[in-house]
């Protein structure tokens, strides 16, 4: 089977970033669970920090730069998306929202999405439910039931009910949505020559 494609959108502002770290842990968990089912996955990580200027220019010019366009296409064409943002003022970051503002309204329709966020304290965990989930609902994405929030104190925890457990559960939910789905990989698209299409329309003699 053609490998599935996974687009990982991460909006951390620093390097290294805990947002990227969470994105990597989720990606690893999803890849492992898919591998257990015998599925291969091609991962594309989209670091929004590197696209900040391109996104800003898109506001001014109204169209994306080639670099931004390639990443928007990667998200649009992916079989599933993992989206991770730092939480600022109880919501997604401006950079995260700006990327989805320039993404086409139909780009995520029906697409499985895992949402996750990082924050300094657990106090803003619900931002995933009141800010991220509604935005992806507007985009008609299929968001997995478990959203993963990692606060500073979560990183050390190894207990099954802690961060590791939530990552495994969310990854399992995304894997389940993908299992049995054929890859939308463009390599499998076959173009039927025009003569054949025409011949198919002609009445059989």
């Amino acid at each position: 089977m053609t490998p599935l494609t996974l687009a990982v959108v991460t909006a951390g502002l620093t390097q290294p970033s805990s947002t990227r770290l969470l994105a990597d842990r989720l990606t690893e968990a999803v890849s492992r669970q898919l591998a257990d089912e015998g599925r291969q996955v091609d991962v594309r990580v989209i670091e929004l920090r590197e696209l900040a200027v391109d996104i800003a220019n898109n506001f001014v010019t109204g169209f994306p730069s080639p670099a931004l366009d390639a990443e928007l296409e990667a998200v649009t064409g992916a079989d599933a998306v993992i989206a991770v943002t730092p939480i600022f003022t109880a919501s997604y970051s401006g950079l995260f929202k700006s990327f989805f503002d320039v993404l086409d309204n139909a780009a995520l329709t029906g697409k499985p999405v895992l949402v996750a966020a990082t924050g300094g304290t657990a106090r803003h965990s619900l931002a995933l439910e009141h800010a991220l989930r509604p935005m992806f609902a507007y985009l008609r994405a299929v968001v997995v039931p478990t959203a993963v929030y990692a606060s500073s104190e979560d990183w050390g925890s190894t207990d099954a009910e802690g961060l590791s457990g939530r990552i495994a559960r969310a990854a399992g939910e995304l894997t389940e949505l993908l299992s049995g789905r054929p890859s939308t990989g463009r390599a499998v698209d076959e173009v039927l020559p025009f003569e054949q299409q025409l011949a198919a329309l002609l009445p059989k003699s």
Binding site: A56, K97, H130
Partner: protein, 183 residues
Amino acid sequence: MARILALTGSPSATSRTEAVIEHVAARLRGQGHRIALVPVRDLPPGALLSGDATQPDIAAVADALASADGIIVASPVFKASYSGLLKSLLDLLPQFALDGKVVLPLATGGSLAHVLAIDYAFRPVLNSMGAEHVVQGYFLLNQLVTMSERGVTIEADAEARLLSVVDGFSEVLHRRTRLAAAS
């Protein structure tokens, strides 16, 4: 008299949101307030989106905001929420930048289906920034706003409702300045 800062989050150079805010600003000036407009679009976008709070223009907005009594937060509705551009400025302000302030949320959008964005998207963010009082907001339908060189024309009923919300904001600010003067 109160000092008011209006943040507008439209990326468009011919923004309805901005035109509406100019109209609102004229009303507030007529009621004795001082008001300054900050289109987020005019701030350096690279610094905004890469999180550079030390950039001088952005630092100047943070200072102006610190000394204001009332804040208007206006944005077009994108993907059922405020714009990412507006949020990128809010992200660069101090954690409790709205501490003790009166805040008026305003939105413009193409569909009545998004009226609740004011209450479920704008309001939680403003509250988390420490706003003392987020007054009634208003969602203005794009189709009811006509722009021309002379400014903006808003359909009569919608304009009356918008201005009544603006007057409510103004009244809260007047009450506070009276209280401050008396104490």
